[in-house]
């Protein structure tokens, strides 16, 4: 299970620095080939491929049922592919348990937000921080030792993250009592607490007002500038995707229909027919 490629990020207590220099520049951050997933005979994703460099942003668009969420679930290890492989910094992910993936530096959010309702916003973020600072049983039970002192540090860092997301004032509220938009921000803060070098966002603007999604995209752009992590964002909110992602993949019925810049995608007749045309949202283009 041990791999050399990610070992350095564990030697120091907190891998705040981005993955730069960990792997040689010739190895891309993420390499996906021939990725295929079937659900009871129905193909959800077929022969998908992707190469993503450190710090790159990719948008994945497509109509409902195109396989977008399946792709996120595969990349984050929540489901296992029926074929193909996913290499993250050269390491094959397809055989790893789901809970081992975040430690490597891959974080995700969910289309239907999945926070921990009985925990406060701050605690939701703190849970994620324990990935790089695993609690030990003794300091937990008897309340002393290095593990105990770390709690304060975790709390402060989690607070700083909430502040970055603009929701520090909600830190002590139960996460179940927050508005939809604030819950989204907590979930993104929780993902960032893993200090990922790859962030997978599943419909981050779903259910938000246009102004709210605008603000969220601004925030994500700023976070990307500061942290330089790679982002794969799945969405069907066209204006948002077009603005945020310099590079797009279009999925349709589980196959990669087209790829290119927003400009190229907008003028691709295949895409217009499969996606924009059929969904009748001509205003988006």
């Amino acid at each position: 299970m041990k791999s050399i490629s990610f070992a350095p990020s564990h030697t120091m207590g907190h891998p705040l620095r981005e993955g730069a220099g960990i792997s040689s520049p010739s190895i891309p951050l993420l390499e996906v080939e021939g990725l295929t997933k079937r659900f009871q005979g129905v193909v959800a994703l077929r022969d998908y491929r992707l190469t993503l460099q450190e710090g790159e942003i990719l948008g994945v668009i497509g109509p409902n049922g195109a396989g977008k969420t399946t792709l996120i679930n595969l990349l984050s290890g929540f489901i296992r592919p029926d074929g193909g492989h996913i290499r993250f910094r050269g390491q094959d992910l397809t055989r790893l348990s789901t809970h081992r993936i975040p430690k490597l530096g891959i974080a995700r959010t969910f289309q239907n937000i999945r926070l921990f309702p009985s925990l406060t916003a701050l605690e939701n973020v703190m849970v994620a921080m324990t990935v790089h600072h695993p609690p030990d049983v003794l300091s937990t039970l008897f309340g002393f030792g290095p593990g105990h002192r770390r709690v304060r540090m975790l709390r402060e860092r989690a607070m700083a993250l909430l502040e970055q997301m603009g929701i520090a004032h909600l830190a002590h509220r139960p996460s179940s009592a927050l508005s939809y938009g604030d819950q989204r921000r907590v979930e993104i803060a929780r993902a960032l607490a893993l200090e990922p070098s790859l962030l997978l966002l599943d419909e981050p603007t779903a259910g938000l007002h246009p102004e709210e999604s605008e603000a969220l995209i601004d925030l994500l752009s700023r976070l990307h500038r500061e942290r330089r992590m790679a982002i794969v964002m799945v969405a069907h909110d066209m204006p948002v995707v077009m603005r945020f992602c310099p590079r797009l993949h279009v999925l349709s019925s589980g196959t990669l229909l087209a790829e290119g810049t927003p400009e190229e995608i907008r003028n691709n007749p295949l895409v217009l027919e499969a996606f924009l045309g059929r969904s009748g949202r001509s205003g988006a283009a």
Binding site: F78, H99, T109, S118, V127, S139, T140, L141, G143, R150
Partner: protein, 364 residues
């Protein structure tokens, strides 16, 4: 939530008051020498351990265990076999294997070994069983309870089978019970309010969300199961050295039911709720038990009502499920900080209430 407005002195004063109250009650009982009350308090402390431990697993992981009394039985028999005097072993357990037959350990190491035995068995069965999803864990742990009973009945060389295991030295004093109960409550509280506890609760709240931040659901459950079984085993050991004679029948459905009711009354996932639940259920069943031989109200005489306390327990559970499913506290805690805040606000209001009429009189 911790209210920052409350002055620390208030919390310290309350905390001091609480400890003084507990210490005073303890000393009064110890010196007063009312044997009935003392026995009741010891039983309360042991039940409290059973409830807090069960809650530490079931409440913190959201997975029901119906097999915890099996761990209690393991702790009871293991520690009792270890402390039984050598001459009694020769009479009661003639077939006991050599190293065990010739030793009689002091109370403390025997208790610890009993707890460890329970914890080790918990880890062994936990590895396959805890992978199952919620309801199936309940059924599987029920299976464990049944297996434990069958083993106890058939391992005659160690347990005397269905016959009474007697002659256990009466080591369990109020002091021992109080110390272990305190430690158990403390550990459960710490666990809930630590990063490890956050991970536990996260795994309970949303397994997918938990996996997405690197929490292994199986490992979280296993840790809670092991700690829980350890303290349940200790409670079993205390119970064995309190009653001094018992048989496998004591560790079965009725005890399981009793402990589960106490946990549910208090609230699943709440440590302070466990204390309240245990107290409430014990006080009410004890009151009903005293009515069982029959009683008179004025000219009306009521005959023997055996089983009244059991019925009372069942009715309590039904009422609770109808009107307050989450129990007294749900998974929240009674916090000194919150009580101190209330007290402070109440005093403030009194102060203004006293001053206000004076101001009004001065106005016109």
């Amino acid at each position: 939530m911790i209210a920052p407005s409350v002055r620390r002195e208030w919390i310290w004063a309350l905390r001091g008051f609480l400890w003084l109250l507990l210490a005073g009650a303890y000393l009064a009982l110890e010196r007063g020498g009312n044997a009935y009350l003392q026995r009741l308090v010891i039983l309360f402390l042991i039940n409290l351990m059973l409830v807090v431990s069960l809650n530490l697993f079931t409440g913190f992981t959201g997975v029901f265990s119906l097999g915890h009394i099996g761990f209690m039985a393991l702790g009871a028999y293991a520690s009792a076999i270890l402390t039984l005097p050598v001459n009694l072993k020769a009479v009661n357990l003639p077939d006991l294997p050599a190293p065990l037959a010739s030793i009689a350990l002091p109370f403390f190491p025997a208790l610890i070994l009993g707890g460890l035995a329970a914890a080790i068995v918990a880890l062994l069965i936990g590895i396959p069983v805890l992978r199952l999803s919620g309801h199936f864990v309940a059924v599987a742990t029920l299976g464990f309870l049944v297996i434990t009973r069958v083993v106890l009945i058939n391992a005659e060389a160690f347990t005397r089978g269905t016959r009474t295991f007697a002659g256990v030295p009466p080591f369990t004093t109020m002091g021992w019970a109080a110390l272990w109960a305190l430690l158990n409550v403390y550990v459960a509280w710490r666990l809930k309010h630590s990063p490890l506890g956050l991970r536990l609760l996260a795994a309970r709240d949303d397994p997918w969300g938990a996996k997405s931040v690197g929490v292994s659901i199986g490992r979280m459950r296993l840790i809670a199961f092991g700690i829980s079984a350890f303290f349940t085993g200790i409670a079993g050991g205390l119970w064995a050295h309190f009653l001094t004679a018992f048989s496998p029948n004591a560790f079965y459905f009725s005890k399981t039911f009793e402990i589960i009711v106490m946990m549910i009354v208090g609230g699943m996932g709440s440590v302070t709720g466990s204390i309240l639940g245990t107290l409430l259920v014990m006080v009410s069943t004890e009151a009903l038990r005293n009515l069982e031989p029959g009683f008179a109200v004025g000219s009306l005489t009521v005959g023997p009502l055996y089983g009244l306390s059991q019925i009372g327990l069942a009715v309590l559970l039904m009422l609770l499920m109808t009107f307050r499913r989450q129990g007294l506290l749900g998974d929240r805690e009674l916090r000194l900080e919150a009580i101190a805040e209330r007290l402070e606000r109440w005093l403030e209001r009194r102060k203004t209430a006293i001053e206000a009429p004076r101001v009004r009189k001065a106005d016109p």
